[in-house]
């Protein structure tokens, strides 16, 4: 699906979802009461920002943390508290005194029995910190799906936050085992950080019977891992008018970034690139062709 189409359909789905725009009102109507939930309620209903003065910020973070950890609090309040906490965490300096407690709270939530959305958010927050316990949980879920707390695509995405998570072999195994295209795609994204994936990427890229998305990811992956190797394949892709435009655009990009300008000694490729620069069906293809033509 085209990115623009995807965005439109996502926005439409979001607008149709009950309670999203009125979550503040829904919360206010609920049995929340008390100062702890009141902070969350005010954050939601009046769209207020986290106070920036030290004491108020600390009080709010502590209250939000208490809410998100409180299994008896309304789920909506807990989810709102989670969002507010993750926003507050971006204010690294101010958040620093609360960081250890925040991570400890996330570890409490990252387990079976927690609301799936809270659990997912907690695992993501921990994975972003390269937390080894979260990585263990995610890896376990990939190896033993009955113990998984999040879907495999999400687990691979979260594990991919850490180049040093050591899951290249597992991702490769999953790629070969699964028939699910979205899981294969997630596995390839992880493998883009593993040097030994080069042969797999080359094989997928040159096999035109493979799904477009896998070939596009392989083009990006190989270009990242070994641009020279990719540049060697890129010429054939650019010359093939039957290949996909996004893959050809990536190939043109690789040629543009190569050390030597291949166009100097390749008249047929030059003609093809000029043609794509003028007649290319998509902006990205025409722009990539233009960059290569301008290369000294």
């Amino acid at each position: 699906m085209d990115v623009k189409d995807y965005r439109k359909s996502f926005e439409a789905a979001l607008a149709a979802k009950p309670g999203v725009r009125n979550s503040g009102a829904a919360l206010a109507a609920g049995p929340v009461g008390g100062t702890v939930h009141g902070i969350v309620r005010s954050l939601l209903s009046r769209n207020v920002r986290m106070p920036e003065t030290g004491d108020a910020f600390s009080t709010n973070v502590a209250a939000l943390l208490a809410t998100v950890r409180d299994a008896n609090a309304p789920l909506l309040a807990r989810k709102a508290a989670m969002r507010a906490l993750r926003t507050a965490a971006f204010l690294a300096e101010k958040f620093a005194p609360h960081r250890a407690a925040f991570l400890a709270g996330m570890r409490e939530l990252a387990q079976s029995g927690t609301d799936p959305e809270l659990c997912r958010d907690a695992l993501e927050a921990l994975a972003a910190e390269k937390d080894p316990e979260a990585q263990r949980i995610l890896e376990l879920g990939l190896r033993e799906p009955d113990k998984a707390l999040v879907p495999p695509t999400t687990a691979l995405q979260f594990l991919g936050y850490d180049d040093h998570a050591g899951i290249a072999d597992l991702a490769l195994d999953i790629f070969h085992r699964t028939a699910d295209l979205s899981i294969k795609e997630a596995a390839l994204r992880v493998l883009a950080g593993a040097s030994k994936s080069q042969d797999l990427f080359e094989q997928l890229l040159t096999d035109k019977s493979q799904p477009r998305s896998l070939r596009a990811l392989s083009a990006t992956g190989l270009n990242f891992l070994n641009p020279e190797k990719f540049a060697a394949i890129a010429r054939d892709i650019v010359m093939d008018d039957g290949d996909f435009d996004d893959i050809r655009a990536t190939s043109l990009g690789a040629l543009a970034n190569a050390k030597e300008n291949i166009l100097h000694n390749d008249q047929s490729l030059l003609s093809q690139v000029v043609k794509l620069g003028i007649e290319g069906a998509h902006d990205s293809l025409r722009a990539a062709a233009g960059r290569l033509i301008k290369k000294p």
Binding site: G54, D55, A96, P97, G166, K196, L225
Partner: protein, 381 residues
């Protein structure tokens, strides 16, 4: 149950105490116990072993490892482990206090709860900052030099530390009250003071020539292929190891930046052309020439025939074996490594080893000027 399994399960190694040599050996980054583990997993296991020194006693051979961790660590767990290990020392220089205060600065924005197994204490679990503060408190009056820094930190408004950490700071301040005036050779001296030095000094440790690696093929930042022997024979060399995906700014990035500074200093001293300055990546499959060139030039390294940043075109293992390099790997990438810089003489023999040491330019230049050869003719002081 094997020691490593016990450590991982938080079971104290009751019965017989493991030998010092065995424990220190397990801390080597290249130890097989870390092979195939993720970085964080390896870090955690190593941290658990290191923290065990609080109980077994900190052997002298482990001190450089602990100090390196305090100097360069950026993650809460290994820093806390090193701080705990110090508490097992029979005799440690108070100069570690400065390192511990630096650790507080580094942990300020990334503190986390740390557990090492076998904890019996009740109440809130300790964070890395609390472990560092406990070590400062353990030093007692020997850590009096930290008072001024801690007082500033504890009085900050708004506080930059949690209430638990602030409370620990207050306790620590109470524990490090200076003693009545008395002479101590170590009281406030820098770590390099001879009477209490804790950093390993560079020493000539290798009597054998490195002939087994002369044929190892290297590729530099411009793609030129050259053998180890052709590049390094005939003149002294500074050789360091790094990799571009290193996440610790106090290690690889700083090392290559310091090599660039070293280049400028050698030029000022008029001996630049007589010494090879090189860095070789631990991760040759990923660190291709363009990546090496960008990494080096972004850190202002200059390149010519005597100054290069390199990868092996084949396996890295021969170099690792030859120089006993402290680096370990998961299935794909480096999972941990130590600081690594060596000085080779003109015959490619190891002249000085700065492993685990945050070397200074002056110190390194002085060492280079001591390399016995005719290759620094006229320029040697």
């Amino acid at each position: 149950m094997p020691l490593v399994d016990r450590v991982q399960r938080g079971v104290p190694p009751c019965g017989s105490t493991p030998s010092e040599a065995h424990l220190v050996g397990l801390l080597a980054e290249q130890s097989p116990i870390y092979a195939g583990r993720s970085s964080r997993d390896a870090e955690r296991l190593r941290g658990q072993l290191m923290a065990g020194f609080e109980t077994y006693g900190l052997p002298e051979a482990a001190v450089p490892i602990v100090i390196e961790q305090l100097e360069t660590g950026i993650a809460p767990y290994p820093i806390a482990a090193a701080a705990k290990a110090l508490r097992g020392a029979r005799d440690i220089s108070p100069s570690v206090v400065a390192l511990l205060v630096d650790c507080i600065e580094r942990l300020r924005g990334c503190d986390d709860v740390v557990r090492f197994g076998g904890e019996t204490e009740s109440g809130a679990p300790a964070t890395a900052l609390i472990e560092v503060l406990r070590t400062i408190a353990w030093l007692g009056s020997r850590a009096a030099a930290a008072r001024a820094d801690l007082l500033v930190l504890v009085k900050q408004n708004p506080p930059e530390f949690s209430s638990a950490v602030c409370a620990e700071m207050e306790k620590t301040l109470g524990a490090i009250e200076p003693p009545p005036a008395e002479h101590s050779c170590c009281s406030l001296q820098p770590a390099t003071q001879a009477c209490c030095a804790i950093a390993p000094a560079p020493v000539a440790v290798d009597p054998a020539a490195g002939m087994d690696i002369v044929g190892v093929e290297l590729q530099d930042q411009d793609g030129e292929i050259i053998s180890f022997g052709r590049l390094f024979a005939g003149r002294p060399s500074v050789l360091s190891f790094f990799y571009t995906r290193c996440m610790n700014p106090n290690k690889c990035s700083l090392t290559v930046s310091k090599l660039a500074r070293l280049q400028r200093r050698l030029a000022e001293d008029g001996i630049a052309g007589q010494i090879n300055v090189a860095a070789i990546t631990y991760d040759p499959a990923f660190d291709l020439p363009a990546r090496l060139a960008a990494y080096g030039s972004h850190r202002t390294m200059a390149f010519d025939s005597r100054n290069r940043i390199l990868r092996t075109t084949g396996p890295f293992a021969p170099l690792q074996r030859r120089f006993d390099l402290g680096v370990g790997y998961d299935a794909n990438v480096v999972n941990q490594h130590r600081l690594e810089l060596i000085v080779l003489d003109a015959d490619m023999r190891l002249f000085a080893d700065f492993s685990r040491v945050s070397w200074e330019i002056d110190e390194l230049v002085t060492t280079l000027k001591r390399v016995p050869s005719g290759s620094l003719s006229g320029a040697v002081a």
